[in-house]
Symmetry: C2
Subunit: 186 residues, 2 copies
């Protein structure tokens, strides 16, 4: 196979799309964030440009919600990434409930929602990188396995890729990890 050097391109996609929920000046706000990650196994990362209105609420409350997205809510999920809470009231785009934490509204129709505490902010010039810990995770019962784990094959979270600005679906399970590697022969 011939490889082409396409330069300094971040190719680490697709990533899960999330709707990040906040409260600012007593009003709920939502934004679509897919530059996310997992850090230190128990924590998650939200990398958010400082221009966003939501950052202010997260910094003030030190709480935030992370809501996974499925296909049924994709129009709304994309919409809250197009318009800013500075200009548009997005509080009614999703029905929500409040869990244990103030400032972390949870989307009723999202398959997996997490209310989170901000543990730290890794600062970059133009980005607030929020390191957060889930305090409670709520899952629609239809998306749980018999063992009470999140069934990603059923949730089929919507994923994002930047190069072509597209959403993709999560596909099917292909193997068990720390397992299929045992078939390796030198």
């Amino acid at each position: 196979m011939m490889k082409k050097n396409i330069g300094s391109v971040v190719g680490l996609y697709p990533t899960p799309v999330t709707i990040v929920g906040t409260e600012i000046d007593g009003k709920v706000n939502w934004i679509n964030i897919a530059h996310v990650g997992i850090i230190g196994i128990d924590y998650m990362l939200l990398s958010m440009n400082k221009v966003h209105y939501s950052n202010e609420g997260i910094k003030k409350n030190r709480t935030v919600s992370i809501n996974l997205v499925n296909q049924d809510m994709l129009v709304e999920a994309d919409y809250v990434g197009i318009v800013s809470g500075k200009n548009v009231d997005k509080s009614e785009v999703f029905e929500y409930f409040i869990g244990k934490l103030k400032g972390a509204p949870l989307i009723k129709n999202a398959p997996v929602v997490m209310e989170c505490e901000v543990i730290d902010i890794y600062d970059m010039k133009q980005y607030d990188n929020f390191i957060v810990k889930p305090v409670n995770t709520y899952v629609d019962e239809q998306y749980l396995t018999e063992n009470g784990k999140i069934d990603y094959e059923k949730v089929k979270p919507i994923l994002f890729e930047m190069p072509n600005r597209q959403y993709l679906r999560t596909g099917n399970v292909v193997a068990k990890c720390w397992n299929i590697g045992n078939e390796y022969k030198k």
Copy 2:
């Protein structure tokens, strides 16, 4: 829908599986890392437990490679996550080439490979969180669109989810982002 509170569970999956390539004491080593993310748009995060042998090489060289995984290389990809370079020579599991950077071997058969510089390390008690910048990204020509972008629908990167310790495939494109949201009606 009824939601069940499953406690403090990191549910932000699936994430792309990567093979992280390093060089330690003059020998190439590989490890499977899926606790990854995108940070500050131009950078990537690798969150790696400090017990791993690879961390030493990354810290010393301040370089590393990130290689996406497709189904054809999944047995080898899982294998390098099962055995440690402390005990097993994994240098020959993948054929590789060297780009511009020393210490960042690139897998010939991986669809998308990036040679990266370490920009910073965000330290946690048990984890080194490497913030890295791609210097060059190499893509098999069959996986590029007509515009020279990575075609994730063709690459179909293998994804990981922790709750059930499984690999999934990337599914198909379902919508354009910053676009489908325009269909939203109050």
